[in-house]
Symmetry: D3
Subunit: 280 residues, 6 copies
Amino acid sequence: MASPTYKYFLVTQPSPYVCHVQINRPQKLNAFYEEMWLEYKTIFDTLSHSPDVRAIVLSGAGDRAFTAGLDVEAASQSGILAQSAEEKDVARKATSIKRHVEEFQACISSAEKCEKPVICVMHGFAFGLAIDISTCADIRICSSDVKFAVKEVDIGLAADIGTLSRLPKIVGNFSWIKDVAMSARVFGAEEAYRVGFVSQVLETKQKAVEAALKMAELLATKSPVAVQGTKELLNHARDHNLADSLRYTGVWNSAALQTSDVERAMLSGLKKTKPRFEKL
Amino acid sequence: MASPTYKYFLVTQPSPYVCHVQINRPQKLNAFYEEMWLEYKTIFDTLSHSPDVRAIVLSGAGDRAFTAGLDVEAASQSGILAQSAEEKDVARKATSIKRHVEEFQACISSAEKCEKPVICVMHGFAFGLAIDISTCADIRICSSDVKFAVKEVDIGLAADIGTLSRLPKIVGNFSWIKDVAMSARVFGAEEAYRVGFVSQVLETKQKAVEAALKMAELLATKSPVAVQGTKELLNHARDHNLADSLRYTGVWNSAALQTSDVERAMLSGLKKTKPRFEKL
Amino acid sequence: MASPTYKYFLVTQPSPYVCHVQINRPQKLNAFYEEMWLEYKTIFDTLSHSPDVRAIVLSGAGDRAFTAGLDVEAASQSGILAQSAEEKDVARKATSIKRHVEEFQACISSAEKCEKPVICVMHGFAFGLAIDISTCADIRICSSDVKFAVKEVDIGLAADIGTLSRLPKIVGNFSWIKDVAMSARVFGAEEAYRVGFVSQVLETKQKAVEAALKMAELLATKSPVAVQGTKELLNHARDHNLADSLRYTGVWNSAALQTSDVERAMLSGLKKTKPRFEKL
Amino acid sequence: MASPTYKYFLVTQPSPYVCHVQINRPQKLNAFYEEMWLEYKTIFDTLSHSPDVRAIVLSGAGDRAFTAGLDVEAASQSGILAQSAEEKDVARKATSIKRHVEEFQACISSAEKCEKPVICVMHGFAFGLAIDISTCADIRICSSDVKFAVKEVDIGLAADIGTLSRLPKIVGNFSWIKDVAMSARVFGAEEAYRVGFVSQVLETKQKAVEAALKMAELLATKSPVAVQGTKELLNHARDHNLADSLRYTGVWNSAALQTSDVERAMLSGLKKTKPRFEKL
Amino acid sequence: MASPTYKYFLVTQPSPYVCHVQINRPQKLNAFYEEMWLEYKTIFDTLSHSPDVRAIVLSGAGDRAFTAGLDVEAASQSGILAQSAEEKDVARKATSIKRHVEEFQACISSAEKCEKPVICVMHGFAFGLAIDISTCADIRICSSDVKFAVKEVDIGLAADIGTLSRLPKIVGNFSWIKDVAMSARVFGAEEAYRVGFVSQVLETKQKAVEAALKMAELLATKSPVAVQGTKELLNHARDHNLADSLRYTGVWNSAALQTSDVERAMLSGLKKTKPRFEKL
Amino acid sequence: MASPTYKYFLVTQPSPYVCHVQINRPQKLNAFYEEMWLEYKTIFDTLSHSPDVRAIVLSGAGDRAFTAGLDVEAASQSGILAQSAEEKDVARKATSIKRHVEEFQACISSAEKCEKPVICVMHGFAFGLAIDISTCADIRICSSDVKFAVKEVDIGLAADIGTLSRLPKIVGNFSWIKDVAMSARVFGAEEAYRVGFVSQVLETKQKAVEAALKMAELLATKSPVAVQGTKELLNHARDHNLADSLRYTGVWNSAALQTSDVERAMLSGLKKTKPRFEKL
């Protein structure tokens, strides 16, 4: 894969089938503005269909932050949070806001829609949009120095880019979710691990990134039909009742089980060899 | 706010925008009967729309119990659990029961429907209806002496005032839920904390109430548009799939983001001052 | 109850109203093939309606495994995973697979559909299908030597007999679920307990089975109307939004509350005697 | 039944078990304002539980209108459509509007929630709110002079008291629904009959009311357990998928089929006599 | 296909790939009792997977009735509608009823679950269960002499074998549905055609059966992958929102479009020949 | 609005705020291939946000066809229906198909997602994709010469671009839907009108286009806040249960009712003048 060069993200391929996406605006604590989340979507849409990618690690460049969230300064100067000079009809302004929020949501959701597994590594500041982004990843791990906050209440709004929609489905402690989402308080790695927001804590950012890359390498050795099907079916199950989920699973596997990956994997299991799977 | 006086509840305002509701029938371990849950609904419906209230703490008066649940003695003398003298047609009796259960559910659900965040503090006995009540609160904390039980099976019935409907959505450990709900066994603070039923344990009731009041004070300093929107969106997310939740969020914020609270909060953030928000 | 004799399962009644089902093919690590899961369904369908059974313990015979999952050797020789000699049209083969998967799902789901509570005890190897089976049980406990794995990815497929559909609804840690389901890695008792996949860990298989039987005995002393209603309502709640769950609960209890079990249970509670409940 | 006297409605009992509710403000074309819809709810909530009522006819007093809808003059002077002098924060005003709309919806929905069948007879002007009201009824019939219009677009708003929510579920012609709802055009009895908005057209208002009363009398001779169960199950089916609907039906009838009405109805059927059913 | 001989049904194969199922108890107006609906399920489950069947016609033997519905006489002597001598606890009796209703529902639903299209031809009496049965068929046609009635209310119960669950999804005239379901009144072919309950009316039973067989022959010439996929996707769409339906369709066709039927059908279209499709 | 020039579509603005989109490949009966539906999406996405457009008419250029559907010749040479030379793993090919179908669906759905009302005028051949396209429009009208067919079964596949997903939600006659979707038979204007697939039939294409343009002009005079809100709320209602629909409506109007359009429309109504509304 000849990775295209992006403006706000560093996209590399540290090992076969593994892609590393780094938010790359460290001088601003990796804070986001509109141009960035549009590029973010481009990247994940591309990786989703790239046959050379089977697992993705997402992290933030620099020592200080995964991302400090929305670039509030930029946001207060333009965009929907800015005080516009022009007086607009409330309903018309509401339409603008809704369009903007929906586009923003679609950009951040691209990592969830991405067919490949995404492992998100968080360190330093992980505020506001950082949480929205991480809830779209499949696996969340962090370093022990991380400082999390569902920060939106502190700028006068309810988080609308996915945090409030996804947290109740990825963490099974509604009392804790309400606490951190309404108080906007900072919480750390240990607390995040205890309640199940992250599934692993490493000592340092470097170790966390290494662990994530190793995990990604492992996933990249597996049948991509099996791994990507598992991601799809788990996300579907999260949003559907049991009967629908079982039915969808049956239809999904009616094609997927016809893959040659099953035979290859079984033979490799018997022969104790490493299977090779065709690109997907 | 000139608090009205209630018969079974003590309703006070210990600090600005913070309301403290105490179940006040300590001589009977705060056990409930019909008149009480009707009053309970009146209180939460009133607080929901009161502009002087931004956060609510719910606790039980006295040292011995948050509430021991349904007043079984009263229930066995009148109401649907009583052995009625008159022989009634089964279908007609079923209609009476259904109407009664639905009204009872609506009363207890009033704390969940209440637009303001509700922090529930549990101590001593917290049996049966105590669990139904607490699952409607946003945040659950307890003292270390608490004795919880989903007690209904022990009086021959499946809990029908909300516990069975809400537990699977607020605690992510279905094996544990089935265990405590079917066995009716008593469990303590530590276990409740470990599985995520409560998000904080304090040494004594007094300390727990203090912690809850402090948390409520903190929430009361935040933008009420942001806090109440967060409660609404999290409760909506719990009950809807991702696409519906994101869509609802976009529409919700198309009005909410037009509030002046955003500008006030942002300015305060920059100036390190305390923002003041209009009543809601 | 005169238990019928089964070929692959040992079905005994160690105490009144308690039934113990053991997967009984220890020489093959209790691995399953088609004839077995058809018999499995027969057993649970029978127990579901048997008035002599009020609680069920499910475990695996022998020291080495609850079950090692699908008998891959058998599966690779016949059935949908086998390489069929005949070349079949893809769509027609898809129809065969879908029918097969749906029948397989229905067999394993029988323990969930069973009206009586099922306590699953896991020890030794608990791979692949073992997880599908256990997610249908109400309560999951294990011994400390257990080795769990959502193993399907390692044979080239996404788990389709229920694991991916049920895990997100019984464990509230989506990051962990994605991790174990996509990596197929082995995890142990402590990890399973921490994330809430099992609700109890015992030292040895023997102690775990004893604990399960004791728990089953306890459940068997309760009103079967109350216990079975609780199972039904919790499973319904898992799959429905709050309003639907409350409504269904009201209708359910409109008949169930007319049972004499309520009066019996209440009287026993007052008299401190053991209640006796009619068969169900 | 000693009917209470209402201010805006004429409530009579023309025959046993049949209740006739007339909107009674003919001098203003039966147009509604807030006090009226609050009373409307009181009436239907009362009838819902009254054992002396088994079928309800709803019509408009006077020759000219079922109802001309919202009293726009009144609405423009007070309430949420009025231009308020006080400048309010957009988000806070949104909260007021939402509360108002939800209360209004709940009032009009009371006829749908009412456990007894409601037959709505429309004549003359049936604009705006008239459509919202009629969509909550079970059966809609009209006289040939009726003039229908989903009129809200013509006062600058999307209908929010139920028309847009219910029309797609009660009329199976989405092209027609979009046409009349977006154009606000007037349509007549024949068109309404052809698309299935009404199920019967009578020559005059008088004949339509007579037909409705006769239909109500017929329904009142049937088992109230059967009729009211049918209303409940059809409304549930409208809002749920097939599996949920069948399941709910089974639970509902597990109590309802234990009624003595079945035996009475069967015997009467065999003996060709008129059955008598207990009050419900 | 060597058709097995059934006791209550006549199953023939009048032309290749077309199966004709006749309810065959004309001396009793084809009324059903338990043994019959169990056999009914066996037939449709068998046809569902039979490669020799691509379209099914369902009709009633004799001149007088499609079916008069439940055999009330038989039902009043045994089964859940019978007055049982033994006094049973209400909750326990409710459990029996629920199990019975669910089994009955499953039997009648077998025609809907059947993968092949089912054309139902109704004539003469088509009361009660006749409606439940016909709502499971894909296409409903009738002769002009038919007498329909949702008759259950007249025996004191709400229809629970599918009529109330399916009518709102197959007929877009909720006012009419409520009318016929609550009044139990008889309606004829013309009315049924006008509201869309049947899609064709023929003069006589014989002509209706001929039309149905001709339609079945036409369907049998088409690609079975395409026809059966269309049935599945339409039934899925009826029960799901748009996004879910589109998603399911995409996954379904990801296997189905790999069939050789597409090439065969296209070539035949170009060459104006009759395509031949492999068995399914 | 300076309309951009498109390759396959003629986009004009015949009157203020009204846009006319014509499928413009008449020499090929307006048949579609991939490049065309990508352009189709671009057009509707653009119109959706264009403040100069308030209503859209969609029709086909030329006398012979609205559109004959998919360009089967083109499709058989490239794309997913083509016989690819390369042998691909079934699961991998399934992934390609699914991606293709989803992109195709998204393109055609753009007219439904478009915030402005779309009136679809059909004449001549309207086969296959023509139906998918028309089901996304808000209002369907046709000329008397139209020839409709859900043609997909005749090329060996189940329609997957929306017809099967939307028909059950826009036409309330499931027997008819199954008939035309499984038989692929041609049906005409009168039949389409009778079952409610179209809501108006005009003598000729020219008259139908004129009627559509006149209807669009009418809609363009109305408050765009009201009209576009009505479209959104009706589409939402189609896909959600009643409670969700009412709740969403309340939140939607909490912003929309703050528009000045209400006052303008009311004043114009009183003054009998034509209101002018700001752009949206």
